[in-house]
């Protein structure tokens, strides 16, 4: 199947997922509410100490994105399972990677919107000033989101074939996400601290490397995980 056809199929899957989500609304609202709740709880736990809050902001930001993201990834396959739509999806001819690409694009848009909310709430809640290097911060968030969504979409597909998918996904996903989250948190922290030690660049390079490895590996192995 030509690349043009695969691209059309990937776009169709992404459009279908985002349209379904936009119309039902239940998914995004609950996931965003969870992310904000986690941030608020972190805020309460850290207390009124502004310095401690600022220091904890990168960790709180990425952890809330992680926990909320797990709900989003599970949901992206739940939509297929609810109406028995996964089987017709798997019966369409053509490479399965176009399904993965479509799911990946839809989940990226979903999590990117979630991150926009999480960032704004974090800035307010943890007394963080917008850094001078905010474009670099956005770049780090973009890279971290790509890593999170790539692995989340992949492992959610794997877990979707199991009855214990809600439990299985975090068990599979969290250990694999450690390098991405570590690099994203450290890069975010360095940028928020003004990057005095010039360490953000190294963490960003690491994030780029992880993203590329995970993107390539998941695209090449998706056919095997989605098979019954």
């Amino acid at each position: 199947m030509a690349f043009r056809d695969e691209w059309a199929r990937a776009r169709a899957v992404a459009w279908k997922d985002l349209t379904t989500e936009r119309r039902s609304k239940a998914g995004f609202n609950s996931v965003a509410a969870l992310a904000v709740t986690i941030l608020v709880l972190f805020g309460f736990a850290l207390g009124p100490d502004a310095e401690a809050a600022r220091a904890a902001a990168p960790g709180a930001l990425w952890l809330s994105a992680l926990f909320a993201g797990v709900l989003a990834f599970n949901r992206s396959y739940q939509v297929e399972l609810d109406g028995g739509a996964l089987e017709p999806l798997l019966l369409y001819p053509g490479a399965r990677r176009s399904l993965f690409a479509g799911k990946l694009m839809a989940n990226f848009v979903f999590v990117a919107l979630l991150m926009a909310i999480v960032i704004v709430v974090s800035l307010v809640l943890f007394h963080v000033a917008v850094p001078a290097a905010w474009p670099t911060l956005l770049f780090v968030v973009l890279l971290g989101t790509v890593g999170l969504v790539t692995l989340g979409t992949f492992y959610a597909a794997m877990a979707s074939r199991s009855r214990a998918r809600e439990v299985l996904l975090p068990l599979l996903l969290f250990p694999m996400l450690v390098p991405v989250l570590l690099a994203a948190m450290q890069a975010t922290k360095a940028i928020l601290d003004g990057d005095i030690m010039h360490e953000a660049g190294a963490w960003i390079s690491l994030l780029v490397a992880f993203d590329l490895i995970f993107l390539i590996a998941t695209f090449f192995t998706f056919d095997y995980v989605i098979e019954a």
């Binding site: 199947m1 379904t20 739509a85 001819p93 098979e227």
Partner: protein, 229 residues
């Protein structure tokens, strides 16, 4: 001899069947006899534990992608998206199948859903959802159609529509395998009947038929060989 087990239980234990091009065959059997499992094997949704099957020369395991181009499967579960409209559902299928959107609109008209094409399918009756599934099959126009309990939830018009789809597929040299509990409705189109019992398949003598199996047609819409090990 196609075989498949779930856990320790062999559901199919040596199924051997050849279906000719231009022929519609029917398959009956008790609940749990493996009828749906056989269809799911033939459309590549699951893999056999032993044996092999070919669809118009394409192996269901080795050439699964080619088989998916050749086979259309009408499942008892509609498999549509509740928050999309009827038109969006069928157009999505058309895009995934590489067919033009106009074909999706024509299929909707054929199954009698054009008047609700812009409505979300969440409120559709089970019969309307079945018609939507059938529209997806019409868009695909496959060479082999596998129909699992195709008459469920259909009114008289819907039943005739299913039979028309079978007749058209057979008329253009394709084949159909229809799984039913009651042979009555499919007898109008089916040429040969098979029974599935204890994981094995055998011709069913005495069941009513109307369909005509073409004489001298090329052998093997699908055929299986192999053994349970």
């Amino acid at each position: 001899m196609l075989a498949r087990r779930f856990g320790a239980r062999w559901v199919l234990r040596g199924v051997s069947l050849a279906l000719r091009s231009g022929e519609a065959a029917g398959l009956v059997g008790d609940n749990g006899s493996g009828k749906s499992t056989l269809l799911r094997l033939l459309c590549t949704l699951i893999r056999p534990n032993a044996g092999s099957a070919t669809i118009f020369g394409a192996d269901v395991v080795k050439s699964a992608d080619r088989v998916r181009e050749l086979v259309g499967f009408l499942s008892p579960v509609p498999g549509v998206y509740d928050d999309l409209t009827a038109r969006e559902n069928v157009r999505f299928a058309a895009t995934m199948l590489g067919r033009p959107a106009a074909q999706a609109d024509a299929a909707l008209e054929r199954v009698g859903l054009v008047h609700v094409a812009s409505e979300r399918v969440r409120g559709f009756s089970s019969g309307m959802l079945r018609r939507l599934s059938l529209a997806r099959l019409l868009v695909q126009a496959p060479r082999l159609i596998l129909l699992d309990e195709p008459y469920n939830n259909f009114d008289a018009q819907g039943i005739e529509l299913v039979n028309a789809v079978i007749r058209e597929t057979v008329a253009r040299g394709g084949s159909a395998l229809v799984v039913v509990h009651d042979v009555g409705l499919a007898a109008l189109v089916v040429a040969r009947w098979f029974g599935l019992r204890d994981g094995k398949i055998e011709p069913l003598a005495g069941a009513p038929t109307r369909g005509v199996a073409p004489a001298g047609a090329p052998a093997g819409a699908f055929a299986s060989s192999g053994a349970v090990h």
